[in-house]
Amino acid sequence: MTENTEFIFAILFQLTQLLLVVLAAPLLSGWVNQCQAWLQNRSGAGVLQPYRVLHKLFHKDAVIAYNASPLFRATPYIVFGCMWLAAAIIPIIAVDLPFSRAADVIALVGVFAVARVFISLAAMDIGTAFGSLGARREMLVSFLAEPALLMVLFTASMISHSTQLPTIVDTLAHHQFVIYPSLAFAALAFVIVLLAENARIPVDNPSTHLELTMIHEAMILEYSARHLALIEWASSLKLFAYISLGIALFTPHGIAEVGNWAGLPLAIGLLLLKLMLAGAGLALLETVSAKMRIFRAPEFLGTAFLLAVLGLLIHFLLGV
């Protein structure tokens, strides 16, 4: 295969993944909700429920406060775009994604930060009590979660001598089932960060209806119809991105390599299995734990930060 055709295939790969993640992300959220329902002895609304909700929301008329600024109206699109991009640059099926060259892991954290800053600003835009409360809490959670996530990613990039996601995943996938001690710590930290950043129990409750305990939901109270739909979609994309990042870092085995077309079906099958397992695990975690008070959250996230730094130190000490 010549360079050119390879590049075209890589672009095709990238576009396929772009399309795939955006369509599949609500399915993952639906699966997590369904698992939770089963664990709580409910029958649940089915894994397709998020699609129905999105469809319903897109059909409605958007209601916006009188004093909303253009920033408020642009934010759903910015957040959605960022999350879509984030989910699209994480190698999940195959490692050759051309766009990964433009944004490495640090930029990935940056993309998450862009979305977070914009949604917090939009929450403060209307000037309601709950909105600014939510923005403050979101920033509180994230200023501890973001460095922890960076440290987790640093550990992985130290091992693979690169901050490029494809290179990291490629390196990690080729050490067959060796558990890096540093990555074990990092994995623990990553789970905590995942819970916090995706507004899951024990830090936040995605299905809460009690305003005073809300974080993420408090920020989006003023959104309705298509804006709300985009934000909900972006949330499921974010969950998808985080879970696939976890899979890419900690269990990348079986991912298809550059130009390996025969390995693709197997890679897709394995990925589906991993996603289902991770979703079920998340549901289990959420079911067995209770929500914390907001000021316990910094301690919880501080633990994640320390664990991640510990992982990095262990990498330095042991050299693996």
Partner: protein
């Protein structure tokens, strides 16, 4: 070249600021050209008998002149509009001081001997003191100005001593920088010179124990002056540290790097923590400047460590990250400071608790300041992210240093940098959200007007610089390579052959392309909004805010500046000295007051102040105002001297 900047003093102050902006621009452009040429030197027949003024334009000074020119162009344009309402006498005085300040800074960067350097340094310090105390009728401002003057001079003494150590007692001719470059210093004296320089320049930059003047002086000065001080003057200190450490001192020791790294990290965390709890918008920005200076010092420390251990490519990377961040900080911090100037003009209010909802009243200022806010928060694809990215890359590449303890220190340092960067985003969301978003907290804000045309142009220039520096990192890094070549003798090099992707070491290792990034985000956003509109509809209905159906919503229910900072105050409680006045539950007109102060002031400065007062009281005992007593003193001194000699 610089003489142009300082010359116009007389009338027609109205035209002087735009002219000076143009001159700054010329300065910046000619400095860009000077980056690629060989160092030029010039000896002026002025100064001391044996020590004429030496000037030298090499890549390091050229880079800082670019910074000065580019930032002050925007600030002067803004100043044209901002100072228009001053009365003539004040305006003329201010105009003189302003341009003396600019000329002083330019001379500091061009000076090639210790004497001219100190003269320029003093011109800069004194003119900025007078600028800070422009509104000298207010006692608090006089106090802030005095504190600034005092610390500036303690610093200046240390710098002078450092030059003294470096010239090594070889007479007055040895005060040229060339002589210092060639002087052979033992490691003890080199360390002494480094420590003195670090202290002296650190006092100017606001490094940790000497930071107290910054949050006092910045809010006191008029906004364009705060912008110049924070954006450019603090960088002269960074320039000084770089000049002394890498150019004048021939040898470096590893522990200097560790010291600078530790000091930088402490300063960064301290600054951002205090920024989070401020309610005065200019104080908040001043503390944020302390944070950024901390990050710069961290970068210098890292450069030193790599350089000493012979990892020259990495040292070049860390140095370039530091320089890039200086440039970025000059742009976005100036933008934010002049932005607060517009707000002050429009509302007369510095307290964020009395602002709010200004985005609807002053859209120009709001959108331009938003660029600065996003840039300083380190968000891609703007400029703050690039320098943060480069610095983190330098940290990530660090393993393999021969000293195990430093190897372990580096990841912890990276963690602290990440924490400071994340907290900076918190601070900036607070800054922007409380001032520009939400509902106006006071009725008087309804009369606020948008920034004037000159103010818009000035802010627009700075915002454009933020975007441009963010989108063209390859070009900038390529230019900065020349400074690295001069100071460290190496350059990254391979950045040049690929203009889209920024790849500091090699493409398998790390790459970043803000242009692709921006295009992808914009593309995805446009696609989404088109699809949503095409497939469904774009109908919008306006109504009152919902707020969970809560009917009695007022502007007072929004988060205040104090409220937004409360989590930080609570988490980092031991670092603050917190005083609270809480009203009793039966109070009909409850009054709540809370203050978070700097513990260091009480631990370090108050004892010093008491000590000084005691010493001066003791010296006062000698003074009685009677002539015969003084004659006796003279006689006793004479006798004692005769006995000894």
């Amino acid at each position: 070249m610089l003489g142009v900047v300082g010359l116009w003093v007389k009338d027609a102050a109205r035209f002087i600021f735009p002219l000076s902006a143009a001159a700054s621009l010329v300065l910046a452009v000619s400095s860009v050209l000077a980056l690629s040429t060989a160092p030029e030197t010039l000896v002026l027949p002025l100064g001391l008998p044996d020590l004429p003024f030496h000037l030298r334009l090499d890549p390091l000074s050229a880079f800082f002149l670019i910074l000065l020119g580019a930032a002050s162009a925007g600030i002067s344009l803004f100043g044209t509009g901002y100072f228009r309402h001053l009365e003539d006498k004040t305006l003329r005085l201010l105009c003189l001081e302003y341009h003396l300040f600019l000329a002083g800074m330019a001379l500091v960067m061009l000076a090639d001997d210790a004497y001219l350097f100190m003269v320029a340094w003093e011109v800069m310090a004194l003119s900025s003191y007078f600028l800070v105390t422009t509104d000298h009728a207010i006692p608090d401002i006089r106090k802030a100005g005095f504190l600034y003057l005092l610390i500036a001079h303690v610093g200046a003494i240390a710098i002078l001593l450092s030059f003294g150590v470096m010239q090594g007692g070889h007479g007055i001719g040895a005060y040229t920088f060339d002589a210092m470059r060639n002087a052979e210093l033992s490691s003890f004296w080199a360390s002494a010179a480094f420590l003195l320089a670090l202290f002296g320049f650190g006092a100017k930059a606001g490094v940790l124990p000497m930071h107290v003047w910054l949050p006092e002086a910045h809010p006191a000065a008029p906004s364009p002056v705060s912008a110049l001080m924070s954006g450019v003057m603090l960088k002269t200190a960074i320039y000084g540290i770089l000049r002394v450490t890498f150019d004048l001192l021939g040898t470096q020791l590893w522990w200097w790097g560790v010291l600078a790294l530790g000091l930088g990290l402490a300063t960064a965390i301290f600054g951002v923590m205090f920024a989070a709890v401020q309610a005065d918008m200019k104080r908040l920005l001043a503390y944020s400047s302390i944070e950024n200076i901390g990050l710069l010092l961290t970068g210098i420390g890292l450069t030193l460590i790599f350089h000493v251990y012979g990892k020259d490519t990495l040292a070049a990377l860390a140095l370039i990250a530091t320089l890039y961040h200086s440039l970025n900080h000059a742009m976005f911090k100036s933008l934010l400071f002049v932005g607060t100037g517009s707000i002050l003009h429009a509302t007369g209010e510095r307290n964020m608790g009395r602002l709010g909802g200004l985005m609807r009243k002053m859209p120009w200022a709001a959108w331009l300041v938003l660029v600065g806010v996003l840039a300083i928060s380190g968000l891609p694809p703007l400029n703050g992210f690039v320098s943060e990215w480069l610095l983190l890359q330098a940290f990530l590449l660090s393993p393999g240093l021969p000293n195990d303890y430093i190897n372990m220190l580096v990841p912890v340092a990276a963690a602290v940098v990440a924490l400071a960067a994340a907290l900076a985003a918190y601070v900036m969301v607070k800054f922007y959200g409380v001032i520009f978003l939400g509902q106006p907290r006071e009725a008087s804000l309804e009369r606020a007007h948008d920034a004037g045309i000159w103010e818009r142009i000035g802010m627009g220039w700075l915002a454009l610089a933020c975007v441009g520096l963010g989108l063209a990192p390859v070009f900038v890094v390529h230019q900065l390579d020349r400074v690295a070549q001069m100071l460290l003798g190496v350059q990254l090099g391979n950045a040049a052959n690929n203009w889209v992707f920024l790849t500091p070491v090699d493409i398998e290792r790390a790459s970043y392309s803000p242009l692709f990034f921006l295009l992808a985000v914009l593309g995805v956003m446009l696609l989404t909004s088109l699809l949503v509109r095409r497939l469904y509809h774009g109908r919008v209905r306006r109504s009152a805010p919902w707020d969970c159906g809560f009917p009695a919503q007022t502007a007072r229910m929004q988060d205040t500046a104090e409220g937004f900072g409360q989590p930080i105050r609570r988490i980092f409680e031991p670092f603050f000295k917190i005083e609270r006045e809480v009203p009793s539950p039966f109070d009909m007109h409850p009054h709540y007051q809370g203050r978070s102060e700097d513990r260091l002031w009480y631990i370090l400065y108050q004892p010093l102040q008491h000590l000084t007062e005691k010493l001066s009281a003791m010296a006062g005992l000698l003074q009685h105002g009677r002539i015969h007593l003084y004659l006796t003193y003279t006689f006793v001194t004479l006798v004692v001297l005769l006995l000894f000699v």
